[in-house]
Subunit: 106 residues, 2 copies
């Protein structure tokens, strides 16, 4: 399931690219200009993001335009939310159980 | 920031461990029994989760007890939510701009 999305986001440079693209479409140059990274390094990070479906690339004339696919963030976001919900319900059930036994009042 | 949490969750075995611990504390054996993985492999995955603060280990007698630290999931969850919010606002602003220019009515 969300393996690729979590892997794609498991690097600060890739998260920084996502943060920029959340503000709108950008060329590869504009999205990555001030990281001070070599082009092959940038290309490798972009490939990971593209393979995970988090970023899409359009070739517009001589420009490579990058877009965030915000839907791809829903998978890890949903997974994290579900773990929190399960944990909250478990926690409530334990508390109810302790209350029913009068432990809280001891 | 959330680097460690995303890295910790970037493997299906580690996510499966988190899913179990969301249901409550468990021993290492109970949390990982039916993965069919060698002990060193399990230990390596647990170390990544512990180093990221996602899982805590308590030694209770001869048992190693694992607990989810659900707070550690808030960092990646919050980051993902913020990217979505930024994107939604950007999208709304573009739409408002197009509506103001009457593009939608063309």
């Amino acid at each position: 399931m969300a393996n690729d999305s979590f892997t794609a986001l498991a690097h600060p440079v890739r998260r920084a690219i996502v943060e920029r693209l959340a503000h709108g479409s950008a060329t590869v140059g504009a999205a990555t200009a001030d990281f001070g990274l070599a082009k092959p390094t940038i290309s490798r990070h972009l490939r990971v993001l593209e393979e995970a479906g988090v970023v899409r690339r359009r070739v517009v004339g001589r420009q490579h335009q990058l877009d965030l696919d915000v839907e791809a963030l829903e998978v890890p976001y949903g997974w994290l939310g579900r773990q929190r919900d399960v944990w909250d319900r478990m926690f409530d059930a334990v508390e109810d159980h302790l209350n029913a036994r009068g432990v809280a009042g001891d």
